[in-house]
């Protein structure tokens, strides 16, 4: 074989290899994922790959006769073409953009990220060719949309704070909902989020905002050490909500070149959770309160409890009437004073304390004040709680009492019916008999709810016992009620009168045991409460064997309180002077205590008795040399 032939053979082999290699490369290009094409400015294709052939529904070998315009609608093609023009005019050497194949059927449409490069001019013709690559980003966009949807719907406010302390443009839609404002992009986070919360922040929390901003641009380790000082919980007055919402904040640093570049802030509306937590706390507290109330009810002696509850409830109802009605401060104070005493005797310490505080509040700010109303609301809550527990756990079956009441009503009904028949017989009416029967009827009606004041004896004993215990004195009471009866309301008022009189006697009259012994008296003081009834008239007195009345002290207080001038006072007899102890606010006690000291008790007694058209007088008992209170009331017409 000649040298020429060898050369030919060698060249042939090299050519064959190159051809094979080229065909392989073509195969790779044809099957390249995404779109690959060479095209003219008018969209005419010179070559392309399988994906493009599929998109324009043509066999690959015929793709050179097709036009890529088919993939796009008119507007999209104009966009595509504008990118080609930027290259052909030399404005740009490369273009990258995203465009959907919206010229295809809906189910075929995809999103592509197009990259366009110049390919050169076709020979001597004025035809620019472009080399294009299209990456299918449909799935990516779908996932992005899903993420966006998640980002939008997730109930978290997610935003980025940049180095200038401004909110970056990308933030979750929930941020706007939480903050009740929109278009917060590029706005300072301080003005948008922290500033409106200032009113609810303490100085330490205010400083925490400065600490947060100080970490921007700093070392990440600085962020780590300071992050616990950042504002973590804010009360934010959202324009969309009536109440400020509670936001919980989390901060995450975005580090670039080892510096805090941005801070990722996550806002969470915790208002509901806090509300539930508070409710649970309240529930727990209520549980404790309930336990304490049950304990107080249990502590009270069983024979005292029903009476105490009854009397407290009567006074409480009166308090409600006064609070919701005319609102005279003095009346309310006196009622609170009575309630306080009753509660104390029953052993309801919290109720007693609340009454004491309310009394003080009412005296200082008046009955109309918000503080007083607030205090009274505490009393209401406490007593309603105690009462419902008492009714549920301690109240006995009233069936016996109910049966008696029913029998009484039957009897009264019969009486009224007989009277009715009598009056219908107009010719033979004996008005004297009718009058007699009406009087009996009225009496029987009243009698249905009348109570013997002797029912109060266990309570009266408890008043003495408890009061003595409180002031560390010793005393016994002799309560003689002589079958005196009054209705429910009057019984309660009498209890209040006795309560104040007894408290006063023990606090101010009866001496301490050592003093009594030194004075040659029995260390146990004696108190006598005697009642008598004549129809609607009730007479009574209470006397003790204590130290009596200190006329000098009373005079001093009268002057101090400017009730009388010294000259006026000098014209008064001792008996007249004694009566000033019923004057509101005049107490001879040096200290104000829960039992006595404000001069409310005796003034309350006088007011109650005067409501009954009665009177009360204080004097020195001639026998015991202690104080003696004589009173008379007339219940008729009251």
């Amino acid at each position: 074989m000649s040298t020429l032939n060898h050369d030919m053979q060698a060249n042939h082999m090299i050519f064959s290899l190159l051809e094979k290699s080229k065909i392989q490369n073509e195969f790779v290009l044809q099957n390249l994922k995404g779109v690959y094409a060479v095209m003219g400015e008018d969209g005419g294709l010179f070559r392309g790959n399988m994906e493009l052939a599929q998109l324009i529904s043509t066999p690959l070998n015929l793709i050179r006769n097709k036009n890529i315009k088919k993939l796009f609608n008119r507007e999209s093609w104009n966009i595509f073409n504008s990118h080609l023009k930027k290259i052909s005019t030399g404005t740009s050497k490369y273009q990258a953009f995203e465009l959907g194949t919206d010229g295809l059927e809906a189910h075929q449409q995809k999103n592509y990220y197009w990259e366009v490069y110049p390919f050169g001019k076709y020979k001597n013709q004025d035809l620019n060719l472009f080399f294009i690559l299209g990456t299918d980003v449909t799935q990516l966009r779908n996932m992005e949309n899903q993420l966006n949807e998640l980002f939008t719907n997730i109930p978290l406010g997610i935003l980025m704070i940049n180095k200038k302390g401004q909110i970056e443009s990308r933030y979750s839609a929930y941020v706007e909902w939480i903050l009740g404002t929109n278009d917060i992009s590029d706005k300072p986070i301080n003005a948008i989020l922290y500033e409106p919360c200032r009113a609810y922040m303490n100085p330490e929390e205010l400083k925490s905002i400065e600490i947060l901003f100080s970490t921007l641009g700093q070392d990440p380790s600085y962020f780590e050490t300071e992050k616990n000082k950042f504002p973590r919980r804010l009360r934010y007055p959202s324009p969309l909500q009536d109440e400020p919402i509670t936001l919980e904040l989390s901060y995450y640093p975005v580090v670039k070149e080892n510096k805090i570049f941005q801070i990722l802030l996550i806002l969470e509306d915790k208002s509901e959770l806090i509300k539930i937590q508070n409710e649970k706390k309240e529930e727990k507290a209520l549980g404790l309160v309930t336990a304490k109330r049950i304990e107080a009810l249990k502590k009270c002696a069983p024979e005292i409890l029903p009476l105490a509850v009854r009397e407290i409830n009567n006074t409480y109802q009166r308090l409600l009437f006064l609070i919701n009605g005319p609102k005279f401060t003095q009346d309310v104070v006196q009622c609170l004073h009575g309630l306080k005493g009753s509660a104390r005797i029953a052993g309801f310490e919290l109720l007693s304390t609340l009454c004491h505080e309310s009394e003080e509040c009412t005296l200082r700010f008046g009955v109309e004040s918000e503080a007083t109303q607030q205090q009274v609301s505490h009393i209401v809550a406490e007593w309603e709680g105690l009462l419902s527990l008492y009714q549920a756990l301690f109240e006995k079956n009233n069936s016996e009492k109910d049966a008696l009441q029913k029998e009484n009503y039957k009897r009264l009904k019969r009486e009224v019916e007989e009277l009715n028949i009598l009056l219908r017989n107009k010719q033979n009416v004996d008005f004297d008999i009718v009058q007699q029967r009406v009087d009996i009827l009225v009496f029987q009606l009243c009698a249905i709810e009348w109570r013997y004041l002797s029912d109060l004896k266990p309570l009266i004993d408890e008043v003495v016992r408890k009061t003595c215990e409180s002031v560390q004195k010793k005393a016994v009471i002799n309560f003689v009620s002589n079958d005196v009866r009054t209705n429910e309301k009057d019984t309660s008022l009498f209890y209040e009168v006795f309560l104040h009189l007894l408290s006063n006697a023990i606090s101010h009259g009866i001496e301490e045991p050592s003093v009594r012994i030194a004075a040659g008296k029995n260390e146990v003081g004696k108190i006598e409460l005697v009642l008598n009834q004549d129809g609607f008239n009730i007479y009574g007195y209470l006397r003790d064997d204590g130290q009596g009345l200190n006329i000098e002290q009373i005079k001093k207080r009268i002057i101090e309180k400017m009730i009388l001038s010294e000259s006026e006072l000098s014209q008064k007899t001792p008996s007249e002077i004694y009566q000033y102890i019923f004057h509101a606010g005049l107490s001879t006690s040096k200290e104000v205590g829960q039992i006595a000291g404000r001069g409310v008790g005796l003034s309350a007694i006088k007011d109650i008795i005067e409501q009954w058209n009665g009177h009360i007088k204080v004097s020195i008992d001639s026998e015991t040399r202690g104080a003696r209170f004589d009173f008379h009331v007339c219940l008729q017409g009251h």
């Binding site: 060249n11 050179r64 060719l129």
Partner: protein, 190 residues
């Protein structure tokens, strides 16, 4: 003699040769050469080409084709026993051989006219690759385009001539390309 006159003569030689060779190789007497521009800048998926070179000029003959068109017009090859990809390769090789034959005949004619010529090996590449080939400037390089029409399909061809020297080429100017004939059985293909 001017460059363009030489080029035109040579192009005509190539055109006639291309027609005669294809007719013979495909055993398709219907094939006719017609002067025609390309309907598209890339008138075939594939392109087979061969270079014939002398001291005075260079000729590049290119024929654009789709394998489908070749399959339609060819009369002497039964491809039924081959797979699609095998058939494709056979058809591409066929066209490469056709180029080789055309180049060989041009060389023979030139030889008879006392012009010593060499030819390259034929290659089949993508029709699109024509983009990378030089184009005519009408001073010393010229291009002629025509098509070889069969019964159903057409094959577009081009002849690119670069003329560098026109001296001592009088014989070629007096040559009539229509004299070219192919002796039967002078080919051994497949």
């Amino acid at each position: 003699m001017k460059n363009n006159e030489l080029a035109e003569k040579l192009q005509l030689l190539v055109q006639v040769t291309s027609e005669v060779c294809l007719k013979s190789l495909m055993q398709n007497s219907e094939i006719r050469a017609e002067k025609s521009d390309f309907p598209h800048l890339t008138p075939g998926e594939w392109m087979s080409l061969i270079l014939v070179s002398t001291n005075q000029f260079r000729i590049i003959f290119k024929i654009f084709f789709d394998t489908d068109s070749v399959k339609t017009e060819i009369k002497n090859i039964n491809l039924s026993k081959f797979s699609e990809s095998e058939s494709q390769n056979i058809l591409k090789d066929f066209m490469k051989e056709y180029c080789n034959m055309t180049g060989g005949y041009i060389k023979t004619v030139l030889d008879k006219l006392d012009i010593k010529a060499g030819s390259s090996l034929p290659v089949t590449i993508l029709g699109f690759d024509d983009f990378f080939f030089p184009f005519a400037n009408e001073q010393n390089s010229f291009e002629r385009r025509w098509c070889l029409k069969g019964q159903e399909r057409a094959f577009y061809c081009s002849c690119y001539v670069v003329a560098t020297e026109t001296k001592n080429l009088d014989r070629i100017m007096n040559f009539d390309p229509s004299e070219i004939q192919i002796v039967e059985g002078d080919m051994d293909l497949l």
